[in-house]
């Protein structure tokens, strides 16, 4: 999905939405930036935020103190929107040329990895010691950051892993694979299951805070709630009619945010909200061209939006 998403998935033209949501969106933090941000993520329990700007430089914010660091990455290649990950002490950024840099929150580059593959997704374990990597042509890879080496690579029948996540307890890795399967591995790389998915590819998987549930979505345009221990589908949402590229689960209830993209341009056309108690996938009344990221903190789901060229807002979705 690399170039597809890479160009401008977050900051693009508004196409259309069908707002029917009763959700409220409330601003909880405002961050100053020096210019346009391409995409952003919330870290750990929401103590910090990280963004990549259009020059591929990384912005780090401590949300409690407001402290901001700007780091010149010297990554002379495009960074995909999902190739940015952070946890409480570490930030990982990967380029389409295969370089991953790891930073601390003081903005110091601590480590560099060279994968020689086009990186489309990164996810850190909560302790920051493991990194799950998705690339354009390979199954998921798990890297050990203490040794700087790859521990294992997953399997697919064919094709790559589109997105992978490490469970909150650090014991499992979940992969949304291009061959349409959802696979779970233990942290040593042993395959636990390969659960059959929809006819079209899944693009993203998100793990609940307690690790028991997964939210999966992709080109079919609907969300699935699955049991993380078996991969079994527990609930399905209605389809929004367009592919879903990113999903984030709330830590508090079975609610999910979804970035909806146009099937032809692959540009954002809406932000979906799903409460798994109700099959209907609703759309939030936000302009998708302003959304640069989504995530969750200890209190629930959040959107990160760019209000103006020099400001990011973190907003709670209820």
């Amino acid at each position: 999905m690399r170039k597809i998403l890479a160009l401008s998935i977050w900051l693009v033209v508004f196409v259309s939405t069908d707002p029917s949501s009763a959700q409220t969106i409330k601003k909880i933090a405002k961050l100053d930036t020096s210019g346009d941000v391409s995409f952003a993520v919330l870290c750990g329990g929401g103590e910090s935020a990280v963004a990549v700007d259009q020059a591929n430089d990384v912005h780090l914010w401590n949300l409690a103190t407001g402290q901001h660091h700007l780091v010149k990455t010297s990554l002379n290649a495009q960074i995909d929107p999902l190739a940015l990950a952070c946890e409480q002490k570490k930030v990982a950024v990967g380029s389409v040329h295969g370089t991953v840099i790891l930073l601390d929150f003081d903005g110091q580059v601590k480590q560099r990895l060279d994968l020689k593959e086009e990186i489309i997704g990164l996810k850190l374990s909560r302790d920051g010691n493991k990194l799950a990597v998705s690339t354009t042509n390979s199954p998921v890879q798990l890297w050990d950051l203490a040794s700087g080496s790859r521990e294992w690579m997953g399997i697919t029948s064919f094709g790559n892993t589109n997105s992978a996540r490490i469970s909150p307890d650090g014991k499992s890795v979940f992969a949304a694979d291009g061959d349409t399967y959802l696979r779970a591995y233990d942290i040593k790389g042993k395959l636990i299951y390969a659960a059959e998915g929809d006819l079209l590819e899944p693009f993203d998987v998100s793990v609940s805070a307690d690790g028991t549930m997964l939210a999966v979505a992709g080109a079919e345009g609907r969300l699935e709630l699955r049991d993380s221990s078996t991969g079994e589908v527990l609930k399905k949402s209605s389809s929004c009619g367009s592919p879903i590229f990113v999903v984030t689960m709330s830590p508090k209830a079975l609610t999910v945010l979804a970035l909806i993209v146009d099937a032809s341009s692959l540009l954002p056309v809406g932000v979906g909200y799903w409460n798994a108690d109700d099959p209907q996938l609703k759309q939030l009344t936000v302009d998708p061209k302003t959304v640069v990221g989504m995530g969750s903190d200890a209190n629930g789901l959040v959107l990160i939006r760019q209000d103006s060229p020099a400001t990011l807002s973190i907003e709670r979705v209820k």
Binding site: M1, K3, I4, N137, D179, A263, L266, L267
Partner: protein, 211 residues
């Protein structure tokens, strides 16, 4: 009657036109002969699978498929090739899945338009009739996706590109871009006049690695 190379060599041996040295069996001799005649091939470069691979396309009978429906707009396109392995052996019964956009750059996500599954023929051959795929905003180049699987070989996921694509400005070697991973995947296009309709054709051999 259509004899295979193996049949002919067997007959030649039986008739004494080909004589076997001491210790050589007919099977070993023919295998070695055929192996010597094959040309090692470089594996086809890999390209990304997605994002709109869809499983479940119905299998076309034989080694040919028709993706376009009568009256479909767009420049008619014929694609043909042979499935080999890197030893140069043709691979019959390889499973070849192809999918592409229509001439306007739209994938069929709800159905199976411009998607097909076929099996290569006895000499590894395959072909399909389609239209030249359109451009769409997320990709710079016109392309057709391929997923090829054959017993004893690694699956091949790749894409075919067209030398006639305006993005290459008439010179793909000089004007390659990051949307296409290898010049080997860019195929020349032959235009021909078929009765009242102009049509394009291209060849694309697919080379798999043994496991």
């Amino acid at each position: 009657m259509d004899f295979s190379r193996r049949d002919l060599l067997s007959k030649c041996a039986a008739l004494g036109v080909v004589k076997l040295g001491a210790g050589l069996t007919i099977t070993t001799a023919i295998d070695s002969w055929l192996l010597a005649e094959t040309v090692a091939r470089s594996k086809t470069p890999v390209d990304q699978l997605g994002p709109f691979y869809k499983k479940g396309a119905s299998q076309s009978p034989g080694h040919s498929a028709v993706l376009r429906a009568p009256g479909d707009p767009g420049l008619q396109l014929s694609v043909a090739g042979v499935v080999y392995n890197t030893r140069g052996e043709a691979l019959p019964m390889a499973k070849v899945e192809v999918w592409q956009t229509d001439h306007l750059g739209h994938y069929d996500i709800t159905g199976y338009r411009y998607r097909a599954l076929l099996r290569s023929g006895a000499k590894g051959e395959y072909d399909f009739q389609s239209v030249l795929p359109g451009h769409y905003p997320a990709r710079k180049c016109q392309h057709i996706h391929f997923l090829v699987q054959a017993e004893g070989h690694k699956p091949l996921v790749t894409q075919m590109y067209f030398g006639s694509d305006p993005i290459f400005k008439g010179d793909p070697a000089k004007n390659m871009n990051d949307d296409c991973p290898s010049i080997e995947l860019v195929r020349p296009v032959l235009l021909s006049d078929q009765a009242t309709t102009m049509a394009a054709s291209a060849t694309f051999d697919l080379v798999l690695e043994p496991r």
